[in-house]
Amino acid sequence: MATVTTDASQQEPELKIVEDATCTFCGCVCDDIELTVKGHEITQAKRACVLGKAWFLNHSVDDRPSCLIKGQPASVEEGIERAAQILTQSRYPLMYGLSDTTTESQRVAVSIADWVGANVDTTTSVCHGPSGMAFQGVGEVTCSLGEVRNRGDLIIFWGANPAESHPRHFTRYSLMPKGMFVPNGRKDRTCVVIDVRKTKSANTADIFIQLKPRSDFEALWTLRALCAGVELEAEQVLADTGVELAVWQDLMDRMKGSRFGVFFFGMGLTMTRGKHTNTEALLALTRDMNQHTRFVCKPNRGHGNVTGADNVVAWRTGYPFGVNLTRGYPRFNPGEYTASDVLARGEADAAIIIASDPMANFSERAREHLKSIPYIAFDPKETPTTRNAEVAFTVATYGINVPGTVYRMDDIPIPLRPAFDCHHPSDLEILQAIEARVQEIRVQGFQSTEENTSLRPARELPDGSIAE
């Protein structure tokens, strides 16, 4: 943990510089930020973008209580006990969120879900969940952002607007850097933006292609056909995509002529009608292109450690999101075990929401159900979700107060270098305590039941005995 810089003696707080701090606001996870820290406040964040500056400069220590139960201040210990009771008494608990915390916390969270037989889902399901389904169906021709930086000479953004969502994407990874095989940086790269809206990112592009809304799938199959040399009817292509066939042919010629082409795609594909089939089409096109040149495809991931959430849930359960553990073994089925569906169908009878805000982002039906059940929420700041929680923990902020590991959008793990201590506990500390208490309650339950009729398999308990 970083050095505490208190001013208990009424002196000026100590000034310190944290070099190579990691910004965890978005999936770029920039780890070259220089922070100027005065006591419990970051006063400057050199090299950070507009979002990174807002992240670092607005996370001073929150003066709310560390724990609220039904809106009333309570001790953290009371909150842990109430949380454990809610989870163990529930018949169908939902665990959701996880993308704005460390991999260490994610790991413990999945353990809790396993102990209580929960349904685990992350914000991936309402972000790039459909991409995850497409990866399973088609496969992923991929690379690290370092390879894009050093090799990419044709960069295509499809349904993505990094100028607003990932402001340093262009300068740090994809367009501006001078790389090993693109020594002149931006001059050696061609940038194409494909979107239904002329976004700020479109202003950066050499070529902007404005699609007819909800025609991504048709446009991608047009390109697949052109890649395979299939002749197409110009009128039909224009009617289907809103773009002239000649424009698509020109793009395909550039794609085949590139040495290292890269697709970055956003939620313009995954949130629009078609969803995973849109992404499948893009991944299949990328695969097709490798018969002609080197081409890769990367999702622009949003939250700071949403990629870590996919990784951790996958190594704990075998699946990246939407995992049901109620039978004691993992089952994966997007649409059935994803949080938005579980809530909208009114199935979950309790929930634990970690570092996310479904009360702001989910459909009205899902929000209404979440509001009607007891749930536990973790967040450094007050949100619509923490306001409605039965137990709300105010936690230290990852990367600013708490060390740990996060995964960049290209699955590269990056360490955090916190700036100052915080009197609020980390979510890791609380989750570990909840896990210990849940285990105790479960063990007591096993011991008091003469005949265990549970379908869940026998488990090894902390003392080495087998619970049956």
Binding site: L51, H59, S125, G129, N161, V196, R273, G335
Partner: protein
């Protein structure tokens, strides 16, 4: 009969800044509470900046302030709003077996109203 538009909720940098300042603070609340409308559609409905409209989808209805999109940013018939409570109220719960509600490309109708309902 009201004309049909396609609504695209999305990210903005101001919305991201607002999340960091706090979701109940002015930056976030003002960013998610305004609908961007194409210039042609503003003229078509006789709208000026800060006028109010009622937007209705199959799943919900909101009353919201409008502003004109930058020239060329939106084609006629397309509306934009930053993600938040208002956009969520227009979104359906069905994920079509994907886990993801259709959060972009939502069919809506829009009509001008004199003021917000009580």
């Amino acid at each position: 009969m009201s004309k049909t538009y396609i609504l695209i909720p999305g990210r903005t940098s101001q919305q991201g800044v607002g999340i960091n300042e706090g979701k109940f603070e002015a930056t976030y609340q003002s960013e998610i509470s305004v609908l961007q409308v194409a210039l042609d559609d503003m003229e078509d409905l006789g709208l000026e900046a800060d006028d109010f409209v009622r937007v209705t989808s199959e799943h919900g209805e909101i009353e919201i302030k409008v502003k004109s999109a930058k020239k060329g940013e939106l084609p006629a018939g397309l509306l934009f709003i930053a993600y938040g409570d208002y956009s969520s109220r227009l979104m359906g719960a069905d994920t079509h077996g994907s886990g993801m509600p259709t959060s972009k490309g939502i069919d809506v109708t829009m009509e001008k109203i004199a003021a917000l309902s009580e």
